[in-house]
């Protein structure tokens, strides 16, 4: 929690208000419990709480100790009040109930308050009732929906949203998404236009309309809002992109070292792990984050060289004090550059491994659609080498998605190899991926991917890493469909359509889920309504002013995709500034990990090949 906060005021819409509100209501929550207290957080909350408040602030408001949520009884607590701040999930309610029951058993009398985030729910109350602790706790809410991660990134931190949607059929995340978007509109004004594609995007749009109608005249004002357009991106329309390996600097940091809550840990084995924050407050990172990794090395050395020449130039008595001051200011960024050089080295080590190369090669040829059998064999060999299971599953899912399924002759072989290598408990994992439609057997019928690929130009040759002209640089030649859809949405209805677009419209039909484009307006009574954008004339002849576009990724977004959007905003023809909102910042690995059953995760923990007494 000691990392610097990202600067939230520099984006196209100041997101700092969200953090201020969140801090305020956190302080209110803490102050509502008198005196010193113990604050207990579930691990997920504790992760992103650091983006809202720092430890001294908590101390100032009476927090004596910070603990992680567990079912172990509370012992050695010197204060009387215990405050839980947890997500409103059944698991958390169960843990709290167990902990309180066990603590009571020890004869320790404490006062408990539970703050559920973002709201208290029936389900959690029911758990408390059934466990018989309902009367012992004070229940309240901490109504935090979106958490600002950077000047242009908001996340709901619903990490299991995608899995719940595609596997459990649990649509809670859509409700919370709509709620969060309403909250944003409350702060920044109603968003005039809403576009999107896909079943869940449609559901969120419908919920927005419903919620505005429910609010009636109290709905956020229309007109003059700070955000012009909302694009809803449904991850189920493009599950492929997160499965692929991100090849931007930030994306690779995430793929190889994992960025957690805007922080990355770096350090050789045995050494102390160094934590540092990766966000726009770091000017060097700001410049590097969205570059193709291939371009990062030259950029870093260029920076270092500039410093060097400046230093050489600064020798001699003829330098004025002001110039020296400038130079000193530049020197300050030196440790930062060093850090990034270290980071780049670590990535370089990871990606020069043969396995990593094999993996990227397989990805590329699967996207291309050639030598499928070879790919299957490579995947098998990767398993022989005990490559990380998630990497293998990502490849298998890419294979399924791009080829319309795993070829029959490899189907059982590959699945059996997964079980033999990683354990039979993964029957459940494979079944979950199959039920979610991520993994399937090839069965007649033409796969849709090649059609979409062609219409949306997803594969490009000759991508220029250092001076890209298309978003495809983010995945070394593969342009994420999600971002292509955003491009398409921003182009369509603006009167700039072409033949290419009509091919895209055709291809869109091949993907399940509706495509929509509506306006959020009010009727003659001032009551909120929704209007089809096509029904309103003159939208095409919109002025040439830059738009602020909020892109909401339902089911998660990768850093490379965000990079692609940031790249788009630099293109003159797009004329848009983007804010990215998501249910979770993720990558293929963290996305697939949510499909693991708890029992399986536990079984995997014990699977580090044990030492043998010989």
């Amino acid at each position: 929690m000691s990392t610097p906060f990202p600067n939230l005021t520099s984006g196209s819409v100041p997101l700092s208000r969200i953090r201020e509100d969140a801090r305020k209501s956190l302080v209110e929550a803490l102050d509502s419990v008198r005196g010193k207290k113990v604050l207990i957080l579930d691990r997920k909350v504790s992760g992103f709480l650091g983006l809202i408040a720092e430890v001294p602030l908590l101390k100032e408001h009476g927090v004596d100790r910070l603990l992680y949520l567990s079912e172990e009884p509370l012992q050695g607590i010197e204060v009387r009040s215990v405050v839980y701040l947890v997500r409103s999930r059944i698991e958390n309610a169960q843990l709290i109930a167990q902990q309180i029951l066990r603590t009571n058993k020890l004869g320790t009398k404490l006062e408990y308050s539970v703050f559920f985030m973002p709201r208290r729910t029936m389900v959690c109350e029911k758990v408390f009732q059934e466990e018989g602790i309902f009367a012992d706790v004070t229940l309240a809410e901490y109504p935090l929906d979106f958490i600002p991660f950077d000047s242009d990134i908001l996340s709901l931190e619903l990490d299991t949203a995608y899995k719940e949607l595609v596997l459990d059929g649990d649509t809670s995340s859509l409700y919370y998404t709509a709620r969060g978007l309403m909250q944003l509109q409350g702060l920044y004004g109603t968003i005039g236009q809403v576009k999107g594609k896909g079943p869940h995007a449609l559901a969120v749009k419908n919920l927005l309309t419903l919620m505005r109608k429910e609010m009636g005249t109290k709905a956020p004002r229309t007109g003059g809002g700070q955000i012009d357009t909302l694009v809803l991106v449904d991850r189920t329309v493009d599950p492929l992109t997160p499965l692929c390996t991100q090849l931007t600097y930030e994306g690779l940091v995430d793929e190889t070292l994992h960025i957690k809550n805007g922080v990355v840990q770096l350090g050789a084995e045995g050494q102390k792990q160094q934590k540092f924050a990766l966000n726009s407050a770091d000017k060097v990172y700001q410049e590097l984050r969205d570059l193709s990794f291939a371009a990062v090395g030259p950029k870093l050395s260029e920076r270092a060289k500039t410093l060097q020449t400046d230093y050489k130039g600064s020798k001699g008595p003829e330098r004025s004090l002001a110039e020296l001051k400038d130079f000193a200011a530049q020197l300050k960024s030196l440790p930062n550059i060093t850090r990034h050089i270290n980071l780049a080295e670590a990535i370089n080590r990871a990606i020069s491994r043969q396995n990593f190369r094999d993996r990227v090669t397989v990805e590329q040829s699967l996207l291309d659609g050639h030598s499928i059998d070879g790919c299957c064999e490579t995947i098998e060999t990767l398993m022989y080498q005990n490559e990380d299971l998630m990497t293998v599953l990502r490849l298998l899912c890419i294979l399924s998605h791009t080829q319309g399924g795993v070829p029959r002759k490899h189907w059982d072989v590959l699945r059996r190899e997964v079980l033999h290598t990683y354990g039979h408990e993964h029957v459940l994992t494979l079944a979950a991926l199959q039920d979610a439609g991520l993994l399937k057997l090839q069965q007649g019928g033409r796969p849709t991917f090649p059609v979409v690929k062609k219409a949306f130009r997803l594969l490009l040759d000759n991508v220029n890493d250092t001076d890209p002209t298309d978003i495809a640089y983010t995945y070394a030649g593969y342009a994420p469909l999600s971002i292509r859809l955003v491009e398409h949405a921003l182009r369509s209805g603006s009167g700039e359509g072409s033949n290419k677009d009509s091919a895209m419209d055709e291809a869109l039909k091949a993907i399940p889920g509706a495509t929509f484009d509506v306006l959020q307006t009010v009727d003659e009574h001032g009551l909120p309504v929704e209007q089809a954008a096509s029904a309103v004339r003159g939208l095409g002849a919109r002025d040439k002013k830059r738009r602020v576009v909020l892109v909401m990724f339902i089911g998660g977004v990768t850093f490379a995709e965000i990079g692609a959007l940031r790249f788009l905003s630099t293109r003159p023809e797009v004329r848009s500034d983007f804010i990215v909102a998501t249910t979770k910042l993720n990558n293929g690995t963290s996305m697939l990990e949510t499909f693991l059953e708890d029992v399986v995760t536990e079984a995997m923990l014990s699977k580090q090949p044990g030492s043998v007494l010989t």
Binding site: K126, Y384, Q385, D412, G423, V600, E602, A603, S606, K607
Partner: protein, 854 residues
């Protein structure tokens, strides 16, 4: 030069340098009211009046009902309600700030009635101690009451929403106080209720925590009265003097000798700057500087203090005695030359089409905004509507000549709106004689609440609409009243009436109306009305309590709020085995079904298994069994890690359980042909666990359970048990290639380079040499060990490359030379350079090759 008929001056009385007026509000509509024999309670802010026979006085009862009647009137004397008082003797009665009638019995029982005489379900008791000791004195205020018991203890209730009597600090009195007064919480420093007691010649202030002397030697006080703003206290002393202090008794403000032998019957404040006393037929008002006015009274009069005056209620009429505001004095005082007066004159002349109007206007041209302000303020303070209009016109006339922006138009609009409201309220049918300062003190939203309490919904709605206030409250209240009042009508009929009136309004919370309908026992009507509710979070819980389970579930699903869906599901499903109809309903709604499954998965696995069986979802059952097996397996693993000394036998029986669960899972999966793979996998898993248990027994250590097939083979190899490895391989039909890979990986991780080389030499080796090299390198093999493997590479170019990578340039060069790979050679040359001896050797080899090729 004010026209005589417009001037109000005739009714004004000078008191020092101020004027007071006594203006008639109403001729009372009541007849046959003898205030002498009645107890009377008047609500503040022109609220209702309640009367009951004063049983402390002798009255001639002439047959008929002997029980006293409580009668309630509005301020104009129109009767609102009458009911028989059939309870005990009354100690006190009064009105709360919500205009409910509060009647306190001598036993300490408190009863509440609406202004329409309906008893409210909010009666409470002051507690057993009060009942035992008996009440000596009782005083009511807007939000509670204070009781002084005969045991000289104080009990108070503050807040009538949740009336809880609490005891104040004991004043430790030896004698009864001569009088007491209440300081309401919003007037005290502490924010708590305080009670003033006059004891001997001292004053005590008592609150919850303490009882302190606050005024010593102030004299023997017979009556106390606190000003409406809480800042001053007026007292009548035994020697016939009226004294005024600041409310903390630190400063005496004035003193006035009444020269009366009798104490006054009533002592009240008139606004906050003068005090009114009344004897049988005399009313004496004393101003702040000792000036006074005397009025004669015709019969008994009740005084009601207001924030800007005092109301006088007698049998015949209702009057308001108040100070004339400065604005009115400025305009109407005889001979006034204030700008306001001149502007008013100008307007009068203008209306008479007299040219002097212009002259008059010019004379005050520099003071016009001030003149306008005076006229407009005077209009607001005036009670008479003709004078209101004349003053307002004068104000508008003057404003037309004001410099732009010097007087806000909005103020004129506000005063006009307020006057419309006040005039409407003063009408004798409504009977709320409010003044502008009173309206401002009351606030419009409280006014609206009072009006709807008094069933003046239309007026309340109009006022709310005019002032842009929320009309929901009014409309919902109306609808609820309507429902209560139409118990005889059919559900559809009432629904139509309600809907018909409310249709044109948006955002009405129908759930509140429906909930009222339910509370009066009209469930069907409630259901009908709920259809109009737009907010699902309000709708669903009520539908559920109405028993409309399916409807509620559908609405919850439509709302997209999964928690509402859970609410509906839980209400439908009570603990225990769910009923058939529940399962059918759930089955028909995919979202509900999946949410319920997701809940059961975490909370009630047994129930979920039952559910799956009921739905004939065999893979679901299989899934549950498999999870159960894994949970058990994890526990075994944990126990083993913790080193708990569970016996070998115990372990085996535990493992048998896991195996059995797996077998059962396999059976379930096998019932559908889509799940053959899962079925086979579970069977294989069971076999694996059995084999592993055997291996553990053999090895005498627990290092197998929990491993995958491959890891099991690895463990065998690590233990040097090649036979066991072979056996596992055979059982699970590992291909030669796969088995080869395991061996390579295992030996490499064990860093057993010799064994690795030996394996590589084996005849039946199926793996290409590079696999060995890569494995060795990845595990940090020394170059010599790698070199041995490299030597076995069949492809010379590749071999040369690997040698070079190991830094063995001579070997590399020689190998390259054998296949005449000059490109490779130059590469190697590049790597070593030419200066070193090694470089020279390489150069030699290169030359040789070129010579040969030449």
């Amino acid at each position: 030069m004010v026209e005589g008929n417009l001037s109000p001056v005739g009714g004004w009385d000078a008191c020092g340098n101020r004027f007071y007026s006594k203006s008639e509000l109403y001729q009372m509509a009541w007849t046959d009211v003898d205030l002498d024999s009645l107890r009377v309670a008047c609500a503040r802010y022109g609220g209702p009046i309640a009367t009951i026979r004063d049983d402390r006085k002798m009255v001639l009862v002439s047959g008929g009902i002997t029980q006293p009647l409580v009668k309630i009137y509005n301020s104009a004397g129109t009767q609102l309600a009458v009911f028989i008082w059939d309870k005990g003797r009354i100690e006190a009665l009064g009105w709360t700030s919500a205009e409910d009638l509060m009647i306190v019995e001598q036993t300490g029982e408190v009863h509440m009635y609406s202004m329409f005489g309906v008893q409210l379900q909010r009666n409470f008791s002051m507690g057993s101690e009060v009942q035992r000791e008996g009440i000596l004195q009782c005083q009511l205020h807007g939000t509670g009451l204070v009781v002084l018991t005969k045991g000289l203890q104080l009990w108070a209730v503050s807040g009538l929403e949740d009336p809880r009597p609490h005891k104040l600090a004991s004043p430790r009195l030896k004698e009864a106080p001569s009088c007491m007064a209440i300081m309401q919480p919003h007037h005290t420093l502490s924010g708590c209720l305080e009670v003033l007691l006059a004891v001997g010649t001292n004053i005590m202030t008592v609150d919850v925590d303490s009882a302190e002397q606050s005024g010593t030697g102030v004299g023997s006080i017979q009556q106390l009265c606190i000003a409406p703003n809480g800042q001053f206290v007026a007292a009548y002393t035994a020697d016939g003097r009226l004294k005024v202090w600041t409310s903390d008794f630190t400063k005496a403000l004035s003193e006035f000798a009444t020269q009366s032998e009798k104490p006054p019957e009533q002592l009240e404040w008139c606004g906050t700057d003068s005090v009114v006393m009344c004897w049988q037929d005399i009313l004496l008002m004393v101003g702040p500087y000792g000036d006074w006015i005397k009025h004669d009274l015709e019969g008994k009069t009740v005084l009601v203090s207001e924030c800007d005056g005092v109301r006088l209620v007698s049998a015949e009429k209702h009057e308001l005695l108040s100070r004339v505001p400065d604005s009115l004095v400025d305009v109407f005082k005889i001979g006034s030359t204030a700008p306001g007066a001149l502007l008013f004159d100008a307007r009068q002349l203008f209306e008479q089409q007299n040219a002097r109007a212009d002259e008059a206007l010019r004379s005050i041209v520099g003071q016009l905004p001030q003149a306008v302000a005076t006229c407009v303020d005077a209009a607001g303070a005036e009670m008479d509507s003709i004078r209101q209009a004349a003053l307002m016109k004068a104000g508008c006339y003057g404003r037309a000549f004001c410099p732009v922006g010097s007087y806000p138009r909005k103020r004129i609009l506000q005063i006009c709106q307020s006057l419309r409201i006040l005039n409407a309220l003063r009408g004798s049918d409504v009977g709320m004689p409010l003044t502008l300062p009173q309206l401002e003190a009351l606030t419009p939203s409280v006014l609206v609440s009072r009006l709807i309490n008094g069933r003046r919904h239309l007026l309340a709605l109009r006022i709310a609409e005019m002032l842009n206030m929320d009309t929901d409250k009014v409309l919902v209240h109306w609808a609820c009243q309507k429902i209560s009042a139409s118990l005889q009508q059919g559900d559809e009929e009432v629904q139509e009436v309600v809907r018909g009136k409310l249709q044109r309004y948006r955002g009405i919370r129908y759930s509140l109306i429906a909930s009222h309908a339910e509370s009066v026992g009209r469930k069907r009507l409630a259901t009908l009305l709920l259809e109009y509710e737009t907010c699902a979070a309000d709708q669903v819980p009520l539908l559920l309590s109405l028993g409309e389970m399916e409807g509620a579930l559908t609405k919850a699903i439509d709302s997209g709020d999964t928690d509402l869906v859970y609410l509906a599901i839980f209400r439908m499903y009570r603990k225990g085995m769910p009923s058939k109809s529940f399962l059918e309903t759930i089955n028909a709604k995919p979202l509900a079904k999946r949410l319920f499954i997701s809940y059961c998965h975490r909370r009630e696995p047994e129930l979920l298994e039952q559910l799956y069986l009921g739905m004939a979802s065999w893979q679901g059952v299989g899934h549950m069994r498999l999870c159960a097996a894994l949970r058990k397996a994890n526990r075994i693993r944990k126990a083993a890690e913790a080193g708990s000394s569970s016996s070998q036998a115990g372990l085996i029986s535990d493992n048998t359980e896991v195996v059995q669960l797996l077998v059962r899972a396999s059976e379930q999966y096998s019932q559908t042909k889509e799940h053959v793979f899962q079925s086979k996998a579970c069977a294989e898993f069971a076999k694996l666990r059995t084999v592993q248990a055997e291996l553990e027994q053999e090895a005498g250590q627990s290092c197998f359970l929990g491993c995958s097939v491959i890891q099991t083979v690895q463990q065998c190899l690590r233990l040097g048990n090649a036979r066991a490895a072979e056996r596992v391989r055979h059982t699970f039909k590992l291909s030669d290639k796969r088995f080869g890979w395991v061996k390579v990986q295992t030996l490499a991780t064990l860093k057993d380079w010799e064994a690795l080389e030996a394996l590589c030499k084996e005849k039946k080796n199926v793996l290409p040499i590079p696999v060995y090299i890569a494995a060795a390198k990845a595990n940090g093999a020394p170059p010599q060990a790698c070199a041995k493997l490299v030597a076995r590479l069949p492809d010379a170019s590749r071999k040369a490359e690997e040698y070079a990578a190991l830094g063995m340039f001579q070997e590399a060069a020689e190998t390259a030379a054998t296949v005449k790979d000059s490109a490779m050679l130059s590469k190697i040359q590049g790597m070593v350079g030419t200066a070193s001896p090694l470089g020279a050797t390489v150069a030699q080899i290169r030359d040789r090759l070129t010579a040969v090729t030449r």
